[in-house]
């Protein structure tokens, strides 16, 4: 990577930490072994009929079928179903990022505002996003499509607090010296906000966005259990209701996992591009 060494401190210490056992296994091998372990346990459980589970091979077949030709019951492919949910998450998280980052910067920079809002936010924070669903249906009852609004709202709530708290943390942890250097150069509050506070807090904000998207992705799945259009949460829940479609349920779960970790990767890559100085 030329002049930049992107390996973080954690990665470096990660190598030296630990007991030093099993040193001859490299990381890649260990990753493969962990996947193999799960498959063996799964296969055993299915073969010995400990649980009513389809075997890994059967499931894989269903999974591939779902991706390519789709589910005949719903007339949709798995990517289409996932995309329906993902769209809602992206929209909701976009709103959440805008609101939470601006509010977080204000709260981090203006002490009285922070004190004023802290009490109410501390009360709202422990409420799980899903607990908002009934109230959200009341709030959005008069919109044309309440379910969609409710889902966006629930994901918004889920993503909001991780982003807000990380932004506040990022702003309040800024080294005073940067602010003082900016002030002695005669910078305006606006310049300080945009060119000092925002970039200084950016790594922390990205942390919040990553966690927020994660919580948002979980929230949409659960929100769809309650009802709504054909999304991935709705899909696995109705597959259960139909009965005898365990392979479809597991396929749906695998898709949720894959998409969740892809979201994480994409945000990490974006962070690397936007935070090149680290």
């Amino acid at each position: 990577m030329g002049l930049f060494d992107y390996s973080t401190a954690e990665q470096v210490t990660g190598r030296s930490a630990g007991l030093g056992l099993f040193k001859r296994f490299n990381d890649k091998l260990l990753r493969i072994m962990s996947a193999v372990t799960i498959l063996i346990i799964w296969q055993l459980t299915a073969s010995l009929q400990l649980l009513e589970l389809p075997s890994p091979i059967t499931t894989l077949g269903v999974f591939i079928d779902l991706i390519i030709s789709g589910d005949p019951l719903y007339n949709r492919t798995l990517p289409e179903i996932v995309w329906a949910s993902l769209q809602i998450v992206i929209r909701a998280c976009a709103v959440s990022i805008i609101v939470a980052v601006s509010l977080g910067i204000l709260m981090g920079a203006v002490q009285p505002l922070r004190k004023y809002l802290e009490a109410i936010l501390e009360l709202l924070r422990p409420i799980p996003p899903l607990a908002w669903i009934p109230l959200a249906y009341v709030i959005f009852a008069n919109t044309g499509s309440p379910t969609e609004y409710v889902q966006v709202f629930v994901v918004f709530v889920g993503a909001f607090f991780p982003i807000l708290l990380n932004t506040i943390h990022g702003i309040s942890m800024i080294n005073r010296i940067y602010l003082e250097a900016a002030r002695t150069m005669g910078a305006s509050p606006r310049q300080i906000l945009r060119q000092v506070m925002l970039p200084a807090a950016l790594p922390s904000i990205f942390n919040g966005i990553r966690v927020g998207f994660g919580v948002g992705w979980m929230s949409i799945v659960a929100a769809e259990f309650v009802g709504g259009k054909l999304g991935i949460g709705y899909y696995i829940w109705s597959s259960y209701s139909v009965g005898g479609r365990t392979a479809e349920i597991i396929s749906g779960m695998v898709a949720i996992g894959i998409v969740g970790s892809l979201i994480n990767k994409v945000i990490l890559l974006t962070e690397k591009r936007l935070v090149p100085w680290r």
């Binding site: 010296i177 002695t184 150069m185």
Partner: protein, 243 residues
């Protein structure tokens, strides 16, 4: 007089750092401030810059009250104060933008000031890729770029090794001889103070006060092993210690 302090008092709650301090520094003077720790020499610099809410008194630059927003001062900190998220060039642009300097001139200003500190080829580097000495050179270039009337330096070389420190001192003198900026330079290093200053302010502690103001008339370039240099150093040390 370039800089005038009138009855400046700084308290933090019950603690008085210094009271009714008066000081005059003429234009183009290289002025060092030395004193034992706790005498308030760094605080004094921050007061002059306008970084502290001064309890009483007035700081005037060219007969006008000095204000922080005007960006009339260039402050070089002991710690690394370069913005790590900006390259060297962007760091320098920050000050130019703050001072509303014509954008067409930015490129030339940056080049000229990087030349002054001998780091032209590091224009697009991030501070994290530079050594401690280079960072302080860039910090100096960053403030020189927007051409402040007054340069305040708070132990800028204290965290450098002695080779780097000596080198930067010599470079700073070169720069000052060319530009004739008014410089206030806080240090706890007497060797550094004798090497650099034209005027030397000795502060005392408890309460913080100005004990003496001396002229250092040694010819330049100054030689640290020179007998006269050492005699000055010894004399100043005695003055600081005499309570």
């Amino acid at each position: 007089m370039a800089l005038i302090l009138e009855d400046v008092t700084q308290r933090f709650g019950e603690t008085t750092v210094f009271e009714s301090l008066n000081l005059e520094v003429e234009e183009g003077c290289f002025c060092c401030i030395v004193g034992p720790s706790g005498c308030g020499k760094s605080t004094l610099l921050r007061v002059i810059a306008g970084l502290n809410n001064t309890t009483a008194g007035e700081v005037k630059l060219h007969n006008r009250p000095l204000s922080l927003d005007a960006g009339e001062v260039g402050f070089v900190f002991q710690e690394d104060a370069l913005f790590p998220w900006y390259t060297v060039e962007e760091n320098m642009k920050f000050g130019l933008r703050a001072r509303k300097i014509d954008k067409n001139k930015w490129d030339d200003i940056i080049r000229i000031n990087l030349e002054k500190v001998g780091l032209t080829e590091y224009r697009s580097y991030y501070p994290g890729q530079l050594s401690g000495g280079m960072k302080q050179r860039i910090a100096i270039a960053r403030v020189m770029a927007y051409n402040p009337k007054l340069l305040l330096m708070d132990e800028p070389f204290a965290s450098l090794d002695s080779f780097n420190r000596n080198m930067l001192q010599a470079e700073l003198i070169d720069l000052w001889e060319k530009e004739k900026k008014t410089i206030l330079f806080v240090t706890h290093n007497i060797d550094e103070a004798v090497f650099l200053s034209e005027r030397l302010i000795i502060m005392g502690a408890r309460p913080g006060r100005i004990k003496r103001v001396l002229n250092i008339n040694l010819p330049r370039p100054r030689n640290r092993t020179d007998a006269e240099f050492c005699r000055n150093r010894r004399k100043i040390l005695e003055m600081i210690e005499e309570g």
